[in-house]
Symmetry: C2
Subunit: 215 residues, 2 copies
DNA sequence: ACCTGAACACCGTTCAAGT
DNA sequence: ACCTGAACACCGTTCAAGT
């Protein structure tokens, strides 16, 4: 009957999905496990360590994907990209599909859990060795001929863009759900489709910029 | 001798700069003003409202700048941008300098206060009407001939990128200052110069992508 | 090995009552 | 108009002591 690390982690993810990041407290989590708050500290050193494990669960789809495989047919969401200069070349299409697919996979993973982006952002800021979602992107760019420094900078930029976009969307959704005033800067209905559209646009712009720095 | 709204705001910014976002609590702020915690709620409805005012102070350099003026001579930090196709044209150079300068101004404003990026990110997620740092960028892109929807998407992407970069840098700095283990994923010394370099690279890549969508 | 009980040092927010 | 005093309902974390 004794709790183990996995039980705590599973319940933490479930609590996150049901109540959100703000209500994912050690005390509430302990209560939902039928245990005293102090009991959790036998399984996890502190809340940060628990959140790291939660972030690993969220990012699992990104971490297990390798760079060579593009697991999405239409990464942009707004039709095929206007690649322009080279229409029949294979290597250019390869890195573009890999990087675009990786970014879309990252975005999907973040949006798959309530406040997933905010949890990941708070964890990534501590730069844990075990959690580097940029790796597949860096690998794809290096395989396409980009230098190490530039590839890392480009991957970091895409991580920041993707996480930033997802954090913003989820926090806004949460604010609307809580009935906060002062939202809806413009009159536009900000649905998921529009957000995906905007994300795809920014992604394509960045990929176009990268294309100019690759053979 | 009575406190006013401005006194509370000024002290809040000072507390942020001295102790960081995590230690900017209503109780600590009240204590530093020689007052009971409840007194603050006469001047600000709640902590969110106070943070909104703090974010306005932080973003002041961005909000008061207009789009037509590029207040930086070298927006990239890595020399003149390889604009490529058009060397002598004026309109292309104009929007590029305006957008690049705006992004650098935004980044500088965020880094000018301890945890400034995190404060701004938490406030921007609520989409307050009074605080839209993207406006100058949207205006510059529209003036260059870009459509409303695309201009807003591009500006949002740059805000997410810039804020994400700054949040990451500041949180990492804070983590290092607090002596957290598990940091420094790679052996590289991550100083301010290197961070500025990486930010400039990603910015230039995005601007190159935008150049393809403008006349 | 795993958990309880109880404490420590905090939070944001409200609100009658004072001046 | 502006603030106090005191409470309410929370936090993360520690640690002796129990089983």
């Amino acid at each position: 009957m004794a709790l183990n690390r996995q039980d705590v982690l599973t319940q933490a993810v479930a609590t996150l999905d049901r109540y959100g990041f703000a209500d994912l407290s050690m005390r509430r989590l302990a209560a939902s496990l039928g245990v005293q708050p102090g009991a959790l500290y036998w399984h996890f050193a502190n809340k940060q360590t628990l959140l790291l494990a939660v972030a690993e669960v969220i990012l699992e789809p990104v971490l297990r994907s390798d760079a060579s495989a593009a697991d999405r047919s239409d990464p942009a969401g707004e039709g095929p990209a206007p690649s322009g200069q080279s229409t029949g070349e294979d290597p250019a299409a390869t890195w573009r599909a890999a990087v675009g697919g990786w970014a879309q996979t990252l975005r999907s993973a973040l949006l798959a859990h309530r406040d997933g982006a905010e949890v990941v952002a708070s964890v990534l800021a501590l730069r844990p060795r075990s959690l580097d979602p940029a790796c597949p992107c860096v690998a794809a760019l290096r395989a396409a001929g980009m230098g190490e420094t530039e590839a890392r900078a480009a991957a970091a930029a895409l991580v920041h863009y993707t996480v930033g976009h997802a954090v913003d969307a989820q926090t806004h959704a949460q604010a609307v759900a809580l009935g906060v005033r002062e939202v809806h800067r413009d009159g536009a209905t900000d649905d998921e489709a529009a957000a995906a559209q905007r994300f795809g646009f920014g992604l394509e712009v960045f990929l176009d910029g990268l294309a100019r720095r690759l053979p």
